[in-house]
């Protein structure tokens, strides 16, 4: 190895603590990206795999546009010349006491094995010698089910065993391989029909078609026929907004990571200035210095990257679960497979670490090779020019800010443009940090003097004088804190909006049935109607269908009951909006309106059981149940159009001043219990919705934590560098009679000062970020309005975090002060 290179590399073990901090900085940045990206990818891949597995060899599927289809169509399907094979499916959900929600497929094993041969490879749990009896039992025992291998392992089933579920106890007879990440349960189609009270009904038929146009010409009317490709697209389209947000979070992690590495590289450059000067005076070429430094950066990048890859892998264990839960509670059952360790993760980590090091190191590197050896040797650092430099950087920042603003005001632009704008804003804010720091300096000085007296004053000066070192660390920390405030305020506002919305729609005293699992028999609805004194009995049906080839939801409601008891949040108008609904019209959610550009008074066309039906849009209401769009109509209209009488849920409204209110509630509860139907109060339902909401944002919250950890290492690294680099200065302090405690205090004040400045800046940047997330990103990606509600909490939480993190970052440097300061002399090394 060249001695030039060696002279740089020797710094790594020599300043081990600093090197470790730098390494951890790189590692955390890389870990955040690797963890987030890998988890998101695995979850989405599991999702794709689950869809693919469920599809099997089917080329198409046929179903009613809304609700289940009649099984008597199967005979005609079996004789249709275009149908090579078919398999009827009941596709429902169920929750297990031990394993949460699973998908339950009701299939005919004889027909289905052509489409999904994997499922047929059952391993029996019963006595193998008596396998025939097992099979006969499966086909004749109404409670018999198969679980996939993983689910079986998870619950720990080894022999035939009864399983408690939301649909009563089921008997596990065997298990089958399921390469997808979706927990799956199989039941005979006939038994599934009984379990879900679907007499004569199935959910869909999966098909292998040989002649698509011919088939479409015979079956299009009243049916929804989708090719497998269309089906996959519909499903992945559902996840689009979610996927986008995961990508944005990964990018944010990368952004903070690169920032930190830039920070690290910048420190390295500063500490190598003098050596570079000596080397130049000895006749070393710029290229040689460049290579030596590059090598050092790459070593940091590779080792940090490899470590980051590993930490990222560990992170996936947490994040994959979080993402899976979010997808499951919002869209589709999924239990993503854990990320499998492979050497590629290490490679990706190294690649990321190195590229980020290069990206972050490129400006410092240019600075290093352009170094003026005369200045470097004379010991004059670039600090004198730092204020001018800060102004230059700020000008670029302003330029980027203008571009970002322009991006926001581009009419009708895509959410990606919105994200670009947000990133632009964040970048410009970080570039402006230096100048703002200079402007804030007198104020900072006052605070630090107040807190720390003379050492505080010196610390304030140090922060300003070493802007080159402190500025980047402050910017990185500021970005993390802004993210924390911005995301926190956005989530908080969203939560407030959700609570407001729930109060507009979920006003019932009791809710019977759970939307996903338990359908309510229609005769129970009739039974309830016989109870006297109930103010309103509200039959609710929510179902997914397609509109313009994308997934939307349709809700069937009783307009008269809702008119009386609900307080919908309308974009325009009030309760009179129910009139058109009663007359066969529809109302649409804000997300539907924005997504498809439909306004009040427009007409939308939905595919009904007898072909297309036109509906007039009577009004638009606020809704957060689905970003895909919701069309609401009266139950009578719904049944007329779709012929589906299914009920997902019944809401019970009792007048406030009713004398027998509690008695009535008890009566309804009793009757629901007799039928084994779950009953929730309005408050409990609201609580459940909030829980789903909180689960959904668990990933976002975890990213906030990661960003702050990354920035923590940034601050710690900056403080340590400041201490190490200024040993000559410390010699002078010592000569002047500064005590060790005072210098320690100074270091603490430096850390605190950086934290305070970062926080002050982040209050502004974070608030703007929150507003951007709410007004630009949410509207563009979810098509709904969140009402910004200012709250103190995110600021307080972030402020405390900032102070604690900056104090925490100072702990090690302070320890170093106590250890080395008493020995520091005024002399050269």
């Amino acid at each position: 190895m060249k001695i030039v290179t060696k002279s740089f590399l020797r710094y790594l073990p020599r300043r081990l603590s600093l090197s470790l901090l730098q390494l951890m900085g790189v590692a955390c940045g890389v870990a955040a990206v690797v963890g987030m990206t890998l988890s998101a990818q695995t979850a989405l891949k599991s999702f794709g795999k689950a869809i693919e597995f469920l599809r099997g060899k089917a080329t198409h599927s046929i179903q009613r546009p809304v609700g289940p289809m009649e099984e008597n169509h199967l005979v005609s399907l079996s004789r249709d010349p275009a149908v090579e094979w078919f398999s009827p499916v009941i596709d429902r959900q169920l929750s297990l006491k031990q394993a949460g929600q699973v998908r339950l497929l009701g299939i005919d094993p004889f027909l289905d094995r052509t489409l999904r041969p994997e499922i047929a490879r059952v391993e029996w749990l019963g006595n193998k010698a008596d396998a025939t009896e097992n099979l006969i039992n499966f086909l004749t025992d109404e409670r018999a089910v198969f679980l996939d291998h993983r689910l079986k392992e998870e619950i720990g089933i080894t022999t035939e065993k009864t399983l408690e579920t939301s649909k009563g106890s089921l008997l596990v007879k065997g298990s089958f391989p399921n390469p997808s990440g979706e927990p799956l349960m199989i039941m005979d189609i006939g038994h599934a029909q009984k379990l879900y009270q679907l007499q004569g009904l199935i959910d869909r038929v999966d098909l292998i078609l040989s002649d698509e146009p011919g088939f479409l010409s015979r079956w299009s009317k009243g049916f929804l026929i989708q090719s497998s490709r269309q089906r996959s697209e519909t499903f992945s389209g559902m996840l689009q907004a979610f996927r986008l947000n995961l990508e944005a979070l990964s990018l944010l992690a990368l952004f903070v990571g690169v920032f930190l590495i830039y920070n690290t590289a910048m420190f390295t450059v500063i500490s190598r200035r003098r050596d570079a000067g000596i080397l130049r005076s000895l006749g070393a070429k710029r290229f040689e210095i460049f290579m030596a430094f590059l090598f050092e950066l790459l070593i940091l990048g590779s080792v940090g990257g490899a470590l980051g890859g590993w930490i990222g892998f560990l992170l996936t264990k947490l994040l994959t679960g979080l993402i899976g839960t979010s997808i499951s509670s919002l869209y589709f059952f999924l239990q993503p497979e854990p990320v499998v360790w492979s050497i590629w993760i290490l490679m990706i980590g190294i690649l990321l670490g190195c590229s980020a090091s290069l990206l972050g190191g490129i400006i410092p590197l240019i600075e290093l090779i352009r170094i003026n050896p005369v200045q470097a040797l004379s010991g004059r650092a670039g600090s004198r020019k730092s204020s001018r430099r800060a102004k230059k950087v700020a000008l670029i920042g302003l330029l980027i800010l203008w571009v970002s603003l322009f991006l926001f005001f581009l009419p009708g632009s895509h959410v990606y443009v919105g994200f670009a704008g947000v990133f632009g804003f964040v970048l410009s804010a970080s570039l402006l940090t230096g100048v703002i720091l200079l402007m804030l300096h007198p104020f900072l000085r006052k605070i630090l003097v107040l807190l720390g007296g003379l050492p505080g004053k010196v610390a304030a000066g140090t922060i300003k004088q070493n802007l080159g070192r402190t500025g980047v660390a402050i910017a990185a920390f500021m970005i993390s804190l802004s993210m924390s405030i911005g995301l926190g305020a956005m989530i908080g506002s969203f939560r407030q909006s959700l609570i407001w919305w729930m109060d507009t729609q979920i006003r019932g005293d009791l809710y019977i049935g759970k939307i996903l699992e338990a359908e309510v028999p229609e005769d129970f609805f009739e039974e309830l109607q016989k109870i006297e004194g109930l103010g309103g009995i509200h039959p609710y049906r929510n179902v997914q269908t397609l509109y313009q080839d994308t997934s939307i939801n349709i809700s069937a409601v009783d307009a008269k009951v809702l008119e009386k008891y609900a307080r919908f949040g309308w974009l325009e108008g009030g309760n009179e909006n129910w009139e058109p609904v009663k007359q066969g019209g529809v109302i649409i959610s804000e997300s539907f309106s924005r997504r498809f550009g439909v306004k009040t008074g427009d007409t939308i066309t939905l595919e009904g059981r007898q072909g297309p039906v036109e509906f007039k849009v009577g009004a638009i209401f606020y809704d957060y149940t689905t970003e895909h769009g919701l069309v609401m109509m009266d139950r009578s209209t719904y049944i007329k159009t779709f012929g589906d009488r299914t009920l997902n849920n019944i809401g019970i409204f009792i007048d406030h001043d009713h004398p027998r209110k509690s008695e009535l509630i008890q009566e309804v509860r009793k009757r629901a219990k007799a039928r084994g139907l779950p009953v929730l109060t309005g408050a409990q339902l609201q609580q459940e919705i909030l829980e789903v909401f909180d689960t959904t944002f668990a990933i976002t919250r975890s990213m906030r934590v990661i960003a702050i950890i990354v920035a923590f290492f940034g601050i710690a690294g900056a403080l340590l560098t400041l201490f190490i680099e200024r040993s000559r200065e410390f010699g002078i302090y010592r000569a002047l009679g500064f005590s060790t405690d005072q210098v320690a205090k100074m270091t603490l004040m430096e850390g605190l000062g950086m934290g305070i400045v970062s926080f002050i800046l982040s209050v502004g940047v974070g608030t703007v970020l929150a507003i951007l997330l709410i007004k630009v990103i949410n509207i563009r990606s979810f098509n709904w309005t969140i009402f910004y509600s200012p709250a103190l909490k995110p600021y307080l939480v972030t402020g405390v975090t900032a102070i604690l993190a900056s104090i925490g970052a100072a702990i090690y440097p302070i320890w170093r002060v106590y250890r080395t300061y008493p020995q520091i002399q005024i002399r050269e090394e």
């Binding site: 002279s7 050596d275 000596i278 050269e828």
Partner: protein
């Protein structure tokens, strides 16, 4: 033989070169084998002159010829090559690379000059009296020892000129004398031109030629006595 020729050399600092001049039209011819002591107070322009001769800095006006070639014409590459092969530098603050051992600091010089022979570096260290301390790091050496390493680093590549900027400025008198003795002896033996910038009269007795610099202007002196006042 004139090894360095300086013609009407001006150097102004500051962004646009409008600041107070550090050098004001200096003219100087230096011959091969001369040992020059350049006296002057701090800030008189000594270091500036050295940096210009070494090609580390560029003059505002005027020209420097080293072995008959204009530094400006050499270009950045040529100047770097010049520093590698023809020029040795010794600093007041030694400027050893803190992460390299004494041996490595010297060997670095050879490596840059493309003559990577370890025995040359070992010999140079022996010549400056540091036998047995080759593997020490600068912070494990005394000031005098560090400067010996710096001298070894300069002489090892057998340069035509050694520029020594306050070589004893950071050393006590006896150590300073030892260093000056070593430096001048080495230069005389190899016929290397030595140019020392200094403000210590000590240096005077080792020089064959004495120059004084005041406010960027060089004048010739005849004896050491004049320096003293």
């Amino acid at each position: 033989m004139v090894i360095i020729r300086i013609i009407d050399l001006w150097k102004n600092y500051g962004e646009d070169g409008s600041g107070a001049p550090a050098l004001c039209g200096t003219n100087l011819d230096i011959h091969k084998g001369e040992i020059i002591a350049l006296f002057g107070k701090s800030g008189s322009g000594k270091s500036t002159l050295f940096n210009l001769i070494a090609g580390l800095d560029r003059p505002t006006k005027g020209r420097i010829e080293v072995e008959g070639r204009d530094l400006e014409d050499l270009g950045e590459k040529g100047r770097t090559l010049l520093r590698r092969t023809k020029l040795g530098f010794i600093f007041q603050f030694f400027n050893l690379l803190p992460t390299l051992t004494a041996f490595e600091n010297v060997f670095l010089s050879l490596e840059l000059a493309d003559r990577s022979k370890p025995e040359l570096a070992l010999k140079a260290l022996r010549d400056v009296g540091l036998e047995g301390k080759e593997q020490r790091f600068p912070n494990e050496l005394s000031g005098g020892e560090q400067q010996r390493v710096a001298i070894a680093r300069a002489i090892v590549k057998n340069p035509s000129i050694i520029l020594a900027d306050e070589p004893t400025g950071n050393l006590d008198t006896s150590t300073g004398n030892q260093i000056l003795d070593l430096l001048t002896r080495s230069c005389r033996e190899s016929g290397t031109t030595l140019m020392m910038a200094t403000h210590s009269p000590l240096t005077c007795h080792y020089a064959t030629r004495i120059l004084r610099m005041v406010d960027g202007v060089i004048t010739e002196e005849t004896s050491c006595e004049e320096i003293s006042h």
